[in-house]
Symmetry: C2
Subunit: 480 residues, 2 copies
């Protein structure tokens, strides 16, 4: 394919994408395929000779689309949103064409510098404490990770390395393995599975803290764990607080756990993967109060800030804390400017070496929407969640299972878990809307997350109508 | 920005990208900017109100492009290639629009299934042993990781978990920490820095094996290390063999180290990040002989197989080995089909949870080029490397520092390291071509990697002319 054909096919693809998104409501949101469906439709081997572009695009409709879960359909209410916007897509086209691998400043200075500045922009939008910003002289700063899982792991590794140094300095007779064996990290029992996984990867104990009636970690739970573990000779070193848990969007108590972490030399990382985007609105910003006690903070613009996946924003107060956990400097990656102080090499901030030019997406989206446009998007989606909440509250058969603060509503039919499992199954089999469940205090609960950028009141009304009708049908079949 | 504007802007972006790539030779390959250049050109805060698209695109030329290292310029010879092709870019547009987060089969069945089948296609193109393929009943299979660094880390964590289980079964009295403390992993002293980093992250000792005159690890070095370490009470558990090292593109001896690993319960991982693409050509496939002894194998189609970054292909013989190191299964990620045997949930194969629909890029590229087209690309670039090698060999002032096997030529001026450091500096300051150095056996060496898809004989001739002229100028200034 030469440049002339790319010009033609590229424009066709723009139209294909526009048509797809314009008409996405006409497709079943959840595909009707069985495992293994695709292999049967595709040859066993790659072709020897080139095929035509037309053949491939025909197969996109024939083979791919029937197996796609349409995350950007306004009938998609599962998991959490995956952000998407036209400026984000345009920026990704540009990023793909530039195609630099920005592991160091020299590998493409614009790639590194735009990222640092965009994370400062975003940090200011969130009103993050000054210490988290890079500016021209700061010790902190931001970085784009691929996912919140990676941000959590990077923070845990930074904390591990810092704790190792401190404890070995205090007790020179202890071996590294002995220290590692004593380290203990904490997370909420409601925290994302990736936090537990970070502990597993980092080879440290990770303990789950119990939560209160609102599914949030309070200071008492953290204090209790620290006391017990210290008495057993362990060394608490890391706490991952969650703002907006995956099951119910609960918020751990930063203002009370933060000072405890600080006085106990415990690295506090805040995972606000989903909820973080809302903090650009003054009315939601108080939920972030206490971030001043944290060592690192992360949220995903690729969830709720209209920046296409992947773009997970992470800030640290002291960049040397995480760089120190990773730094390796072979000659082929060194360059003249690396010790200048103005320059950061992002490869030392992350698990992979290579990295795409992802800050272009932030730049395009921030400028096309403006801060106001982004705030409007958040506010609209929160309002839609409350609209759904009210529909549920007006129906005596149902109950709301957690306070609705952001764009997530946890609800269930009053009754058994089995009843609710059947309800969910019937809803998803209808393929009109798509939801996933969670467990809250032993109860099987349905989660409705407002996801697509284009979700509107009419879609929420339709979702409720579908759920309500399925419930009526289900309850009719139930033995009295 | 609504759909109508996206249609217009998208088509403009296609033309911008086409123009950029069509005229990339007219831009300096390496930017002439100082650290901090970009911050001065950009406001301190994100705009409150929306800006226009025209303003942004003007700023792309004014702010971004002057700071870009043009990886796809035919005058770019640094690091290793970053693959790029038009079908790859088109597939990425589609992937971005579908925008599913394919962490599980149910999250978008097509995303998971196309990936499994494409990795089978690619495995067959490489003539990988059957055990690495998924098929419909295989225990192995492939996955797309973001980077080789992640593949290495995942393999090391899989190996660690497997070794822990085995050793604790044999010695129930040992604690996990005691076992971890005894584990030792091996890599070539020439291996990529990410291998050492994987050991650091995984909390295990990583020892560097000495290499022979061709910068390759031989069986004797591995045997010697195993013997010494076992005598010291350590437990060797992992060896990362490299095919095509970053400094000089050396090939570790798989056929002799492989059987040792197998008999010693050492997990052998093969990192062929760059060179792996060449194994689709029968004449280069012998370099992969011995892969049958490996537990896992990885290479980057995003380096040399015309698939835009990121796309790092990894295969394992037993998928349960790596899944076992990670598996976490919260309710909101479970789905009806997950225990069916036909389904794999790729979140258990990798560090991040989220993942893009990257197999579309493989599918588009394989079909538009055909296996033959891809082979032609590899062969052409190897030929260009030999063309450059011959130019160097004809000039008595220079020497070739490592055998030229793929698209990388290591060379230097006969003389001191300082002389060569100055040569490199002068070449890069000219901004006509861009190279990075390496160290080989204490010598400072220049690396010329054939990178851009469009690099041709005339560019190689120009590169040599530039280098030769700079050398003449440099030598003229030298004291006799």
């Amino acid at each position: 394919m030469d440049i002339a054909e790319y010009r033609r096919r590229g424009k066709e693809m723009v139209d294909y994408v526009a048509d797809y998104l314009e008409n996405i409501e006409n497709r079943d949101v959840y595909p009707n395929v069985e495992p293994g469906y695709l292999r049967k439709l595709i040859p066993e081997m790659a072709p020897e000779e080139p095929e035509t572009y037309e053949e491939i695009m025909k197969d996109v409709e024939r083979i791919i689309m029937p197996g796609v879960t349409h995350w950007h359909s306004p009938y998609f209410y599962a998991y959490f949103p995956a952000a998407s916007s036209f400026p984000g897509m345009l920026a990704d086209m540009l990023s793909c064409a530039i195609g630099c691998i920005g592991f160091s400043w020299a590998a493409s200075p614009a790639c590194t510098e735009l990222e640092t500045v965009m994370l400062d922009w975003l940090g200011k939008m969130l009103n993050l404490p000054e210490e988290f910003l890079a500016g021209t002289k700061g010790q902190g700063g931001g970085v784009i990770q691929g996912t919140a899982s990676e941000a959590t792991l990077v923070s845990l590794l930074g904390a591990r390395s810092k704790a190792l140094k401190r404890i070995k300095a205090e007790h020179p007779s202890l071996s590294e393995a002995e220290v590692l064996n004593k380290l203990v990290a904490y997370m909420s029992e409601q925290a994302h599975s990736s936090v537990e996984r970070a502990g597993l990867i980092g080879g440290v104990q990770m303990k789950k803290l119990p939560t209160d009636g609102k599914f949030a970690v309070q200071a008492s739970a953290l204090m209790e764990a620290i006391k017990t573990d210290k008495a057993a000779g362990l060394i608490p070193f890391y706490f991952c607080a969650t703002l907006g848990t995956t099951p119910s969007c609960a918020f751990d108590n930063l203002l009370e756990t933060g000072p405890i972490c600080n006085s106990e030399h415990i690295w506090m990382h805040i995972d606000a993967a989903y909820a973080g985007s809302s903090f650009i609105c003054p009315e939601f910003r108080p939920l972030l109060n206490g971030v001043e006690f944290a060592d690192s903070f992360n949220f995903n613009p690729h969830k709720w800030l209209l920046v296409n996946f992947d773009c997970s924003a992470m800030w640290v107060k002291k960049r040397t804390d995480i760089i120190g956990a990773f730094k390796m400097d072979p000659l082929y990656l060194q360059h003249d400017h690396q010790e200048s102080g103005l320059v950061t090499d992002y490869r030392h901030w992350q698990i992979p070496l290579g990295r795409r030019f992802r800050s272009l997406k932030l730049w395009f989206v921030f400028r096309i929407y403006g801060k106001k446009g982004l705030q409007e998007h958040i506010r609209k989606q929160v309002k839609l969640a409350h609209e759904f909440e009210n529909l549920v509250l007006q129906d005596d058969r149902f109950e709301i299972c957690a306070e609705v603060i952001m764009g997530l509503v946890c609800f269930r039919l009053k009754g058994s878990n089995e009843l609710n499992e059947n309800l969910l199954k019937m809803i998803n089999i209808s393929r009109k809307i798509h939801l996933v469940p969670c467990h809250l205090a032993g109860a099987f609960v349905l989660r409705l997350a407002v996801c697509a950028r284009t979700t509107d009141s009419k879609h929420i009304q339709f979702a409720w109508k579908t759920i309500s009708e399925v419930a009526t049908e289900l309850l009719r079949k139930q033995p009295q």
